[in-house]
Symmetry: C2
Subunit: 202 residues, 2 copies
């Protein structure tokens, strides 16, 4: 937002942004995406619709921000050990408390009928997580830790797809045991690195 | 249904069953699961509600039958070649024309809010397909074609999860190329069988 469009004497207030995002999360959980309106968000948090629209030009932009605010993808792990890095990528998907899961499940559902929301959701929410696997695998290839001819695009999609299915079809997050199984039974063998973890590994 | 509960002089008529399932599919596509009612199905196909309830005791049972009627999981493939068998399992997910995809996408969405529907959908629709991978991998293990200590449960879930994500998050079916990539880049290497397909293979 350019400062020229800001009303004089009404500086942006990060606390108000938080309240708006929080109200949006509440309404996503209580009402779902379809029934959520900018009016209802404004009523819930006591902000004016103009305040909301100054920051988020559309309902799609607002709900995607509200979801992204609940998630903090970690930096690309770099422990020096491919297995540990892959486990860290997978565990990043698990740090989701009930509120986050509910918001994600509701939005995941809504994306199925709304291509614009689907694209915005992928860009702001899914890609930062899926990108962890892309980054770790790409770096392993650069370092010569894995064969250069592997289909890394497909391999990087395995874990995100399994996490997505669990969330969307079963409304639950993967467990730590699930993460280990995908890494040890699928990814590492498919990468040609059947490393047995050292007993003292993290 | 026991014949004792059938009204005298009103034998079951398979053509009416087909009309009811067809009307249910239409309404799932047009209205979605939430708004679909037994009344609307009855009106659409000209059957009485009693006729519908004699065959399907609940809306959940009816919509799951309507979805299953669009799908015909093949018998477990047994070509004598593990790669061909896995490709056949994956390709079974692709034989879905637009109508089927729309019904599945709508029901997939609805299952997220409805645990009873989720369970019925899994049993009647998802499991017969996912079971193809279970069967092919289990048989390969019995025949000694793959190592006995593999985590076949996790490996069997990879493809169904990737197909589900594509359907639910992107509203499209996997392509034949996608199927090949998952089999060749993920499953076969993870199974420890990096077999290069023979040029004359089916």
């Amino acid at each position: 937002m350019s400062s020229a469009s800001r009303a004089p004497g009404r500086p942006l207030n990060p606390a108000i942004d938080d309240q708006i995002l929080n109200a949006t999360q509440d309404l996503l959980i209580e009402e779902g995406f379809e029934r959520l309106s900018m009016d209802a968000v404004a009523r819930r948090c006591g902000a004016s619709k103009a305040t909301i629209y100054r920051r988020w030009p559309s309902k799609t932009a607002l709900v995607v921000s509200a979801a992204a605010a609940l998630l903090q993808p970690p930096p690309v792990p770099d422990t020096g050990d491919l297995r540990e890095d892959l486990l860290a990528c997978g565990l990043a998907y698990m740090q989701q408390e009930g509120r986050t899961l509910q918001v994600l499940a509701n939005l995941t559902t809504a994306t199925q009928h709304d291509p614009e929301l689907r694209e915005a959701f992928r860009e702001a929410v899914s890609s930062p997580y899926a990108g962890l696997f892309d980054a770790v695998l790409g770096r392993a290839a650069e370092r010569g830790l894995i064969r250069p001819d592997l289909d890394l695009d497909t391999l990087a999609r395995v874990f995100p797809a399994m996490a997505y299915q669990q969330l969307a079809a079963q409304a639950r997050s993967l467990t730590e045991r699930d993460v280990q199984r995908v890494v040890d039974a699928v990814l590492l063998p498919a990468l040609g690195t059947n490393a047995v973890p050292a007993p003292t590994s993290l």
